[in-house]
């Protein structure tokens, strides 16, 4: 079943040097799957995620044929109705929990707020639900965490709290923008396992934005590879290592491999023509 369909998405920013095009005509669809979007910084992957939630503010310009969610074009939805889409239909987990949690508000109050905004229930019910959600993301002492402030949490805990908060309104789609980049490898694994479990149990669609190719190859079902605002290649995640596009190959080869030592790493040689080829369609 198709959850989301994006057609010909453009994101532009006016600058002194003229219009900068961050995303240039990207089309893809999302079903109940884990879709990875990879690319370097500046390739437009985060902007794609933000554009779906209409989080790009003027002077930024978002244009698309359509961004369809349940037969509704999100570009035509009023700002008031959009607030209901955010959180309830589509949630987003950002890169750094330090910047996405309110530093002067107790964690419990923040999670409860996320639930109360979308559900008219009593406070005690929201509280019970929040504790339950914290347990679902493997936080050992949820009562203590409810009372704590964000600075008392480690990065891994903070990110799990963010995931709990984003999943509590039970959205259909989760957009995770580099959710584990600020975390250690060992913690990374835990956070991914939790996300994976929740996505599977609830039958959600996941857009996983990352610069880490190996992580995406392992964790996602399908991958879109972005370069200079366009999708240059799309493939099944487990076949990422057989990718055809020289950009994808270049990125893979530039990684140091622990089992294959060499003196020099391969450096990515960019071909200006990569940016000129029209975007590949990322539909299933």
């Amino acid at each position: 079943m198709m959850l989301l369909d994006v057609k010909d998405l453009w994101v532009k920013f006016p600058t002194r040097q003229g219009l900068f095009e961050a995303v240039r005509g990207v089309s893809f669809s999302l079903g109940k799957e884990r879709l990875g979007i990879v690319g370097e910084s500046g390739s437009g992957k985060s902007m794609t995620g933000r554009a779906i939630l209409r989080l790009i503010r003027p002077p930024g310009i978002v244009e698309a044929d359509h961004i369809t969610l349940e037969g509704r074009n999100l570009l035509d939805v009023t700002e008031k109705d959009m607030r209901e889409v955010r959180g309830e239909k589509i949630s987003m987990v950002m890169q750094d929990p330090k910047f996405s949690l309110n530093p002067v508000m107790r964690i419990g109050d923040q999670i409860m707020e996320a639930y109360l905004v979308h559900n008219s229930v009593s406070k005690s019910e929201a509280r019970a639900k929040s504790v339950e959600m914290l347990e679902a993301v493997s936080i050992r002492d949820p009562e203590r965490v409810m009372r704590a402030y964000p600075h008392e949490m480690s990065g891994g805990m903070g990110q799990r709290i963010m995931i709990a908060m984003m999943l509590i309104p039970n959205p259909q789609i989760l957009i995770a923008d580099e959710p584990t980049s600020a975390l250690d490898v060992t913690v990374q694994r835990q956070v991914l396992d939790i996300m994976d479990k929740l996505v599977k149990e609830r039958g959600m669609g996941l857009i996983f934005i990352s610069h880490d190719l190996n992580l995406v190859a392992e964790f996602c079902d399908r991958v879109l590879i972005m370069y200079a605002g366009r999708i240059v290649e799309t493939c099944d995640a487990n076949k990422l290592h057989d990718a055809k596009h020289p950009y994808t190959q270049g990125l893979l080869n530039s990684l140091p491999r622990f089992d294959q030592p060499r003196r020099h790493l391969d450096v990515l040689k960019r071909d200006p023509s990569w940016a000129e080829v029209p975007s590949v369609k990322g539909h299933t």
Partner: protein, 248 residues
Amino acid sequence: MTMITINGLNVWYGDGRDHVDAVKNASFEVAAGESFGLVGESGSGKSTILRAITGLAPNWSGTISIEGKQLSHGKRDREFYRRVQMVFQDPYASLHPRHTVDQVLSETLDLNGITGIDQRVSRLLDGVGLDGKFRFRYPHQLSGGQRQRVAIARALAGEANIILLDEPTSALDVSVQAEILNLLTDLREEHNLTYLMVSHDLPVIGHMCDRLAVMKDGEIVETLTVDSLRAMRAQHEYSRSLLKASIV
């Protein structure tokens, strides 16, 4: 000859209720021309060791020796900073936002009492693969990789032979990481440098270093060569789990 000797090093932050032992009884040696890695998760104390060496973490006990000379607990002298330099993790934060590349490098050269600054600056930029046109740019006009090149040039300006690298590529894209790591490999050979490198990324340490120490909760759990780690001869449970998480 050993360049860096760390013996029974303890480093702590805060006092009373907030006392934290960041490093507990750490010992290792780095030979001249060697590249030594410290791996572990965040909070394991690996960066703190570098900070203690450079004098940025003043509360420490045990001994730190550089080229056989024991460091005092006071301020490091000029001579120390001429020999030992550090490259920081975040190239966005480690360069003065209102100084041009030229100012950054000239000031460092001047502090080290080096003459002929004009030529030296262009030679330094050349050495780290930066075109002359970048010389009068401000940090915000450079990409992350270019900034890290400037930071490396600054570390090399005083002809230091010991470079402390604190996650030098963690903030960079993989393609840029490859360029910076290649640059570091070449510079080490060219100038016969000794590296002490901190990273949470085991493949990066494996690529750059000859030997490494695995840290957990402020303690060194194991010191071994990269080759024996690669051959799965790690003794400690934690080193093995780290290895498992790093190989895909």
